[in-house]
């Protein structure tokens, strides 16, 4: 699916608009950046409830294209600017982590935070 599909499925607000046509196949949901760095392979979407700039940096190091903030959390301007700088898309959804991940899985995205 495309990042625009992710936004539609999660009924999300687009906080930073990168390339919405980027194709994504896999996602990871975590509040621990340590785990994202250690276990994720070739994920392109990061769902998190964590709100600091290291979320963007972690996504950057992992070559991820899209960050989804769950539970209606609003990151501050620094976080958004950082993402904008790196051509990432930032979405915000009212769904909680479990539901947001479930909806995306249902629509065909796959995981990989565990060693699969």
């Amino acid at each position: 699916m495309k990042i625009s599909d992710v936004a539609a499925i999660l009924d999300a607000q687009v906080l930073v608009e990168g390339n919405m046509d980027t194709e994504v196949k896999t996602a990871c949901g975590s509040d621990m950046m340590s785990d994202v760095l250690a276990f994720v392979k070739d994920q392109s979407v990061l769902l998190t409830g964590l709100m600091n700039p290291q979320v963007v940096r972690t996504a950057e190091m992992m070559d991820m294209h899209c960050i989804v903030f769950v539970r209606d959390k609003v990151p501050d301007a620094t976080v958004l600017r950082l993402a904008e700088d790196r051509d990432m898309t930032v979405l915000q959804t009212r769904y909680r982590m479990f539901t947001a991940c479930g909806k995306l899985y249902d629509a065909g995205l796959r995981g990989g935070c565990e060693k699969e």
């Binding site: 950046m33 964590l50 290291q54 190091m61």
Partner: protein, 143 residues
């Protein structure tokens, strides 16, 4: 020497800035046209090390040398040092306080992860003096 040498100050008092050095190195490697897999390995390993310097050692310095076949990263701090390196290398071992965990770090995965993504890694550390971590990523190495 033919390589490109870079030096960064990693401030210890500003968590929001942690990762700036790694981010800069990543961009430079991209611009130079390095293999994406090698770039990612450098980025992850250096980022983990940078975060460690910030959360465990009050900051430090990063020295990076970029050569056609290899990238060398040296992270030097004057923090508390690591008393038991073998233990610190174990997955899941962490002395990070809860406050660090609430920032998304402190799972005890950093050092094992750095080992996994690099081709060579040595830790030189002395309690009370500081830690110097050296890592090498070979560009043509297939992981």
């Amino acid at each position: 020497m033919s390589g490109l040498s870079l030096k960064y100050e990693v401030p210890g008092d500003d968590f929001t800035r942690a990762g700036e050095a790694s981010s800069d190195v990543k961009r430079k490697l991209k611009k130079l046209g390095y293999d994406p897999d090698a770039i990612r390995r450098v980025a992850i390993a250096m980022y983990e090390g940078e975060i460690n310097m910030v959360i465990h050692a009050g900051g430090g310095q990063a020295f990076v040398t970029i050569e056609p076949q290899r990238v060398d990263i040296v992270l030097e701090d004057h923090g508390p040092g690591i008393a038991d390196v073998e233990k610190a290398m174990q997955a899941g071992y962490s002395t990070a306080p809860d406050q660090v965990r609430s920032l998304g770090f402190g799972a005890g995965m950093g050092l094992p992860n750095m080992k996994k993504y690099t081709d060579e890694m040595t830790i030189d550390t002395e309690v009370g003096k500081g830690t110097t971590l050296k890592m090498t990523v070979l560009v043509n190495h297939k992981s």
